[in-house]
């Protein structure tokens, strides 16, 4: 099976879906002539032309709204944000228009569209360019939210997102674009929205996570394995709707849960997971649910401070040992 990058997996998904449905188009900053700020759309302008691969001015609110309008009358826009940090300027369109249009029109205007781009911190980009938005977005009724952590899931979830008749948020990762993984060549790769996957089986503790933190969970699980602790990794893949059964099933086996998330702790999505686990898995739990997250500070620039602020495998290992009562 071919091993490709997360970036190329997304590129394949975009191209396959645009070949499949001529209502689908890609719009955003630098997606065309520049070939994508992160080269996700490389070659697409040449393949599909400038009506379907549309370079925009730096006008996030505006082009997000253009996507909404096009979706209202039957096109299927893919709106690329160069990063989700810039999408903050467009949240009125994402939240007030895309998420609510179906409901406030009494079901008349479904919004089949995708908002996608890199989410979370990269390296030394400091405060304004390093933040994870999933807690904000998963909070909104009417939005589906996916956060693929592997090339396979990136391709499969993006394809499902494009085919879905609802607005879907796709949270990619700058640090994920170069990661590699197996993606089959001659078969359709589609990952249904709302389905978690057990990325690693284990009986001692459940890591519940998504997106880039799947890699951190894998590192932590490797370290724990050396100490004969078997960690299970539940990759939610989709945050809204969340696969509650997958979480419950894992916790019923391990009796211990650690939620790993890239964002801040206050009102973070991990709190939503922890709420579910304490409520629905109470009798299974042998320890309180712990959360590993970014420190509650704006991301600092200095390397050492940035490292200290980020959730990492070391913190995940410590949390796992704590719920196993191996460490304080």
């Amino acid at each position: 099976m071919p091993i490709i990058t997360y970036r190329d997996a997304l590129n394949q998904a975009l191209r396959e879906e645009m070949q499949r449905d001529d209502r689908v188009f890609l719009m955003g900053e630098e997606v065309g002539v520049y070939q994508g700020a992160y080269k996700v759309s490389k070659g697409m302008l040449q393949e599909f032309g400038e009506m379907r691969v549309v370079d925009t001015p730096i006008t996030e609110l505006g082009f997000a709204g253009v996507g909404v309008g096009a979706a209202m009358v039957g096109l299927r826009p893919i709106i690329e944000f160069m990063t989700w940090n810039f999408a903050l300027l467009a949240l009125d369109q994402v939240v007030n228009s895309a998420a609510k249009m179906l409901s406030m029109s009494g079901g008349q205007y479904p919004m089949a569209m995708v908002f996608r781009g890199p989410n979370g911190a990269a390296l030394q980009l400091s405060a304004q360019h390093s933040q994870a938005w999933e807690s904000w977005l998963a909070h909104i009724p009417g939005l589906k939210v996916v956060a693929p952590g592997t090339p396979y899931d990136a391709k499969g979830l993006l394809k499902s997102a494009i085919r879905d008749d609802n607005p879907v948020i796709v949270l990619e990762g700058e640090m994920l674009y170069n990661t590699k993984g197996e993606v089959p060549e001659n078969e359709e790769v589609v990952v249904p929205l709302g389905q978690a996957e057990v990325k690693r089986e284990g009986a001692d503790v459940s890591f519940i996570t998504w997106g880039k933190m799947v890699l951190v969970a894998q590192q932590a699980a490797e370290q724990l394995a050396k100490e004969n602790i078997a960690a299970e990794i539940i990759d939610l893949r989709t945050l809204n709707p969340m696969d509650a059964d997958a979480i419950a099933s894992s916790v019923s086996k391990t009796n211990r849960a650690v939620v790993l998330e890239e964002g801040w702790s206050v009102a973070g999505f991990g709190a939503h997971v922890a709420d579910f686990v304490q409520r629905e898995c109470f009798d299974d739990l042998d320890a309180p649910v712990l959360r590993v997250h970014q420190e509650d500070v704006p991301m600092p620039y200095a390397k050492n401070l940035e490292r200290a602020a980020k959730p990492d495998a070391k913190k995940a290992v410590a949390a796992a040992k704590k719920v196993l009562y191996l460490e304080n």
Partner: protein, 344 residues
Amino acid sequence: MPQKKSSEQNGASGSIDAAARGDAALRRDLLREMLLIRRFEERCAEAYAIGKIGGFCHLYIGQEGVGVGAISSLREDDYVIASYREHGQALARGISPRAVMAELFGRVDGCSKGKGGSMHLFDRNVNFLGGHGIVGGHLPIATGVGFAIKYRGGDQVCVCFFGEAAVNNGAFHEALNMAALWKLPVIYLIENNRYGMGTALERASAINDIAERACSYDMPSEVVDGQDVLAVRAATMRALQRARSESIPTLLEVRTYRFMGHSMSDAVSGTYRSKEELEEHMKRDPIVVLRMTMEQEDGWTDADTSKLDEEVKAVVQDAWDFADASPEPPLEALYEDVFVDTTS
């Protein structure tokens, strides 16, 4: 004041003006539509006072010439999108008074099934793409509708109604810049009623002739007398011609005045505008302006007006009765229409 009237210079103005003025039958239809909106809105105020309509409710009284003039110039396959002061445009576009009133009453037979209310009237059957509640929020959406028309190679036009206060908002700039850059068939129609809630235009905009803002986008623009429904029609038709034949967007500054408060919770006059100012503007009631034209040109009489008035009052009463009899949405509807369960 500098104005661009590109089509007026190409010899089309005569035929457009004639089409805009129409004949006696057309003028009667325009008067009827404006009267219907006026009576409808008056009953909305009454319904609001007795609690049948809740929330925010922004009436269109005084501005009827704008919505009726512009929308009467459109084709069925064109698109209309509006702000939250959109009862008038919704009726003018052809959403039934029953469905609009039922929506305002929060009933299941409303045009948005009771989920939208006064600020979110929608009707897919007549390409009415909503009332939108965030100032400026629907302007980029209109640009997107224009983009979709061009994407498909159609010759429809999207008309986007908004108040003059929205021009100070970033969405206005972003939407118009892209529409001009990409040459999209959109008419951005400013309903300049002089006040953004209680803040006068002069206290909010660095330039007061806001049609001049079109210069920033090299976009044709025009200042229009919004109290003259025939003038609004003519200007809209010129913009439609540019949009259909050349895919060029237009900014129309239609000057009008609202005779009521900003919303039902706002006094008609007082803190930010005087009674004298209001009364001065009410002398140019769009219904009266058209009626006077009809009296001069069509032999229209007071008796004709009374008859028409009775007719539309009956329509509004029917809408009220229908809305009042319509049930509240069933509780099962609470979780409906949050997501659709389909894929393509």
